[in-house]
């Protein structure tokens, strides 16, 4: 049984109410969803809460998943929507989301050991901080497109499906995000 068959079997059992099967799906995809949500909202506790929300929402709506798209695409879509939905919420405002991002990220994510790529530029903690600032400078809709492309490695077709936009618009959004990131790095003195 390959991964797709195993996923289909877990989905079938989860639809029938087997919460353990759904729990297995959560285990399989939690890193994927949390990784995206964290970099979307840039706050560890909020990211954990929203990732939970995304999975709970997915479970409630399993009957709506027809299987004509990949399950991961469907999950990404729910996760992105959960992130967008929380932006104006009282919970987000109470957390001071937009003002404490750099501090929360610097303290809790991307352990130094994981950041040390075998490349002299990336060995620098300053470079990691610069990259983080560049991504954080993106407006949410551009950040989502940029992360789906460059962090998650998705095709423009998949990004378009997740963001509910045309494939051409997905491409334009990623291109524009690249330009914005480079501008943000340039404004911080990076020669690019």
């Amino acid at each position: 049984m390959n991964d797709r068959d195993r996923e289909a079997e877990l989905l079938r059992r989860a639809r029938e109410g087997d919460t353990r099967a759904f729990g297995r799906l959560v285990e399989i995809y939690q890193d994927m969803v949390y990784g995206l949500v964290f970099r979307m909202v840039r706050n560890p506790s909020l990211a954990e809460e929203l990732t939970q929300d995304a999975f709970v929402k997915a479970y409630r709506r399993l009957d709506s998943f027809r299987g004509d798209a990949r399950f991961t695409t469907w999950l990404y879509r729910i996760a992105v929507n959960v992130c967008h939905d929380q932006r104006g919420s009282a919970a987000a405002r109470n957390r001071g989301l937009e003002t404490s991002l750099d501090a929360s990220e610097a303290g809790s994510m991307d352990p130094p050991a994981a950041e040390a790529l075998p490349d002299e530029d990336l060995e620098s903690r300053e470079m990691a901080a610069l990259f983080r600032a560049g991504v954080n400078a993106l407006e949410p809709k551009y950040r989502a497109a940029f992360l789906l492309r460059h962090q998650e490695g998705l095709s423009y077709t998949e990004i378009a499906s997740i963001l509910e936009i045309s494939e051409n618009n997905a491409k334009v959004r990623v291109h524009r995000a690249r330009e914005m990131v480079l501008e943000a790095l340039r404004s911080r003195g990076f020669d690019v």
């Binding site: 027809r66 460059h150 962090q151 291109h175």
Partner: protein, 234 residues
């Protein structure tokens, strides 16, 4: 519209090169134009490093996350759980007075939902067949007879004159596309009668491999992908 703004300051070939969308000859020409230290070379290098950094420094997922999700699901009341899965409902039922207490209430709701519909559609002689209007307009028609089990025979109809193949897919058959092929029953109408569990269901017609909502469904539910599944309650 912001999305239509042209990216500024980048060699337009950089995006296509980065995305692997340049032809081999164009890619070679682009690489030939790169010089150490020039803007495009720096931008390309920076974007490559940024992408590598994003992929290799993913945040650590909290170890309690999966457990927290499952705790939330287990703690939810039946009303908050997926209501369209009879199997799930059965899972929530045993072992609790509260869990048993909602069963008759739900049963009463289902009866209230089904009786008016079946009465309206039942011909005067009581024979369980669809009304002509309903069949012509593609409204799913509930059979009046019940077989005494947890399932109800249900007739689905849809108009698709030019179609070569029409199937029914729904949560009741795990959305298997052609497990339930429909039969042409008139010049432009397709039909199928299947036994489905009592309760709320989501379904779609698959007309020549294209997913289509029932235009006469009892209701609709967002499918999470920008279109709507059809909803029925039996």
């Amino acid at each position: 519209m912001n999305d239509e703004r042209k990216p500024r300051g980048l060699d337009p070939r950089l995006h296509d090169f980065f995305d692997g969308e340049l032809s081999p000859s164009d890619a070679a020409a682009f690489e030939g134009d790169l010089r150490p230290g020039n803007d495009t070379a720096n931008q390309l290098r920076t974007l490559k490093h940024l992408g590598a950094w994003l992929r290799t420094t993913r945040p650590r997922t909290p170890s309690s996350l999966a457990r927290s999700v499952m705790s939330r699901l287990e703690a939810e009341s039946p009303a908050g759980a997926r209501r369209s899965s009879p199997a799930l409902r059965r899972r929530w039922e045993p072992g609790s007075i509260l869990r048993w207490a909602w069963v008759p209430a739900m049963a009463a709701l289902l009866v209230l939902a089904v009786i008016p519909m079946t009465r309206a559609l039942r011909p005067s002689d009581g024979t369980p067949k669809p009304s002509g209007d309903a069949a012509r307009s593609g409204i799913p028609v509930a059979a009046a007879d019940r077989n005494g089990s947890d399932t109800v025979p249900y007739r689905f109809t849809v108009k698709a004159a030019a179609a070569g193949r029409v199937c029914l897919a729904g949560d009741f058959n795990d959305w298997k596309v052609c497990e339930a092929p429909m039969r042409r029953v008139g010049e432009d109408t397709w039909s199928i009668t299947i036994n489905i569990p009592r309760g709320r269901h989501e379904y779609m017609f698959v007309i020549d491999n294209k997913w289509v909502s029932d235009p006469h469904a009892m209701g609709y539910a967002d499918d999470g992908f920008g279109s709507r599944n059809s909803v029925l309650v039996v």
